[in-house]
């Protein structure tokens, strides 16, 4: 009996210890020189809470790089109206509680003037109540419209999922598809997506006939793809972020699915192309203009801004920026614009952000209203496909 009892105890202990390890915490502070900031003197403090480690890393890392680049540029140009700007970056480890904790630290201890982030929907939603209750302006870089629905203090720069889905439905309508098989991220980013496809597609007679979910850190997609194959829809949609979205795309082709496949705007980075490899060819996705900057017509209003950003980013980091870098760029520029115009009074910043009009950014041309704290419409997206491992703008943009 000795052996069995010790085995059982050992197993329980080990399970407990591993579970603890999973919860272990670490925070990353980019520039953690503390001290209370009076609102009218001393440096202006911009906080950022990003998904730097964990499943959101392929979003958070380029966003951090972008903010560091822009901060450097701003410092070199003499700060905001002569005042020094301090950038404080926190890693939320792609978790909701990590985001809430970082938010409370930035708001209560660091007393930042504005907060950027998080990179993904779930952590952004976890930050929202703190922004509202402490009356701190916050600009999320994530997609789900729920982040800004009815918000007073929260804005966002990534294209709303509603806008993305409108664009996708438009394309489906044009192609004559009526049934959708959906494999979606099981976290906040995929929440409510199926309902939205059904709602927006109802006028065109398009509906979702099968929904499969996958965890953001999933690695095996056989089950989801087998079920999609059996659903035999006209078009399948994979809604996730890399690397999961790339692995799902890979499994899709490897299991021999030949149904056309669409992906969301969550895949606009090189990591996706790297993970999906040759299996990405032929997919269609609505993405920001950044990934196809070289293919934009010359009269495109964003072309100049995008090309300048790509040049600066490539020079500093020796790699191309992703659409997520673009979300960070827009968030930073909106914040700096507001701080330059109205100073550090939170109420004034909020009011200024709400009245932004025709602001040319990387993800689109922003026009905010009290009802719309996202500011982008379907024209902020381009239908893009992949050809030989490169993004390619579709000639027919199917704006329907």
């Amino acid at each position: 009996m000795f052996r069995t009892r010790s085995t059982r105890v050992a197993a329980l202990l080990a399970a407990g210890a591993l579970a603890l390890a999973g919860c272990a915490e670490s925070t990353e502070s980019d520039d953690a020189s503390g001290g209370a900031a009076a609102s009218d003197e001393g440096p202006i403090k911009i906080g950022a809470i990003l998904d730097i480690t964990g499943p959101g890393a392929s979003l958070g890392v380029p966003e951090r790089q972008t903010l560091e680049l822009l901060h450097e540029q701003l410092e070199a140009a003499g700060g905001i109206n002569g005042r020094e700007v301090e950038l404080l970056i926190e890693d939320n480890q792609s978790t909701e509680d990590g985001a809430a904790k970082a938010m409370s630290k930035l708001v209560n201890e660091e007393e930042v003037d504005i907060v950027l982030g998080a990179s993904r929907t779930g952590p952004s939603l976890a930050m929202r109540p703190l922004a509202e209750s402490s009356q701190t302006p916050m600009i999320s870089l994530a997609a789900n419209q729920a982040i800004v629905n009815g918000s007073e203090w929260v804005f966002k720069t990534a294209q709303n999922d509603r806008v993305v889905i409108e664009r996708m439905i438009g394309y489906m309508e044009q192609q004559g598809y009526t049934t959708i098989g959906l494999a979606r991220d099981a976290s906040g980013f995929g929440e409510g997506v199926q309902e939205m496809f059904d709602e927006i597609g109802s006028d065109a007679g398009i509906s979702v006939v099968a929904t499969e979910k996958f965890a953001p850190d999933a690695t095996d997609f056989t089950a989801q793809m087998v079920n999609l194959r059996n659903a035999a829809a006209d078009v399948n949609v994979i809604w996730g972020i890399p690397p999961a979205a790339g692995l799902a795309q890979k499994a899709y082709r490897q299991l021999g699915l030949e149904t056309p496949v669409m992906q969301s705007h969550g895949i606009g980075n090189q990591v996706f192309l790297d993970t999906a490899g040759a299996q990405a060819d032929g997919l269609v996705a609505p993405l920001g203009r950044l990934v196809v900057a070289d293919q934009l017509p010359d009269d495109d209003p964003q072309k100049e801004v995008i090309e300048a950003f790509i040049a600066d980013y490539t020079e500093k980091f020796d790699m191309s920026p992703s659409t997520f870098s673009g979300h960070a760029y827009d968030g930073w520029k909106l914040a700096v614009d507001a701080l330059e115009e109205v100073g550090t009074d939170p109420q004034a910043i909020r009011d200024h952000l709400e009245q932004v009009e025709g602001f040319v950014g990387i993800s689109g041309v922003f026009t905010m209203t009290p009802e719309d704290h996202s500011g982008l419409q379907a024209d902020a997206l381009q239908l893009v496909t992949v050809e030989n491992g490169k993004w390619k703008r579709l000639d027919d943009q199917a704006t329907g």
Binding site: M1, F2, R3, T4, R5, S6, T7, R8, V9, A10, A11, L12, L13, A14, A15, A17, L18, L20, A21, G22, A24, S26, I52, T53, G54, A57, S58, G60, V61, A186, E212, K213, F214, A215, D217, A218, T219, D220, T222, A223, Q224, V226, N227, N230, P243, L247, Q254, L255, G256, V271, D274, T275
Partner: protein, 289 residues
Amino acid sequence: MTDLLQLLFAGLSQGAIYALIAIGFVAIFAVSGVINLAQGEFAALAGLVAISARASGLPLPVAVVVAVATVAVVAVVMERLTIAPVKAMTTLVSLILTLGVSTALKALMLLVYGPNAEGLEAITPGIVTVAGVSIRYQDLWILLVAAVVSAAVYWFYDRTVTGKALRACAEQPVAARLVGISLGRASLISFLIAGIVGALAGVLSSPVYFTSWESGLALGLKGFVAATLGGLVSIRGAVLGGFVLGVLETLTAGYVSTGLRDAVAFLLLIVVLVVRPGGIFGRHAEARV
């Protein structure tokens, strides 16, 4: 039918990886009663080392050898620095020590390799379709290597004098020492084996399942559950446990709900520990008392 076969095959491939990790747990536990929570990190580290070696221009086979050798050294150093100096080792002490090593390794990997997940290139890229079932060539490599490695480790522990001597250390430490078996050397060899097997799991799984600094946690958990299903002291049990877990996970995801996939391992662990604490194949363990 095609679906069932497809799911079964995916489960076997995944299960083979769990089995390799589980062998690592058993290789150490059966010798010294140490549970090595850094077993999953061995796999993650091997994957990352192989990827960066490949990126620096080394041919794939060399990159794999470099990765396995690196992890073997890490395992041996870990044993010498954290396990060997402890006079009165108990399973609880070993858990705390190896948890520390695991956390340190993760932090180190994050610092050196950054937060992104990447995949090593496959040994043979591409897929083959048999009777409607898509099979990646890499899956076949995984199954082949897992079969060879588990047979070799099993043969070593159960059929060779050295292997039996190692096991004697756990059964009767005092008697083992009396007949001239060095406990320190035994523990060192067991870590070497665990390091190599874990590294192979990491290198083989990387092309399909990708590797990041934190992928060791999930692998380690699943491998540990697989080892426990087999009673923690049997190589055969660990291998079977790995396959059972892999197949059950995939079938649950396919036929019940994809959300339940990760819960399967832990439900199974609880049921087995309550009903058959010696493992589902536990005849072996009970008889030994």
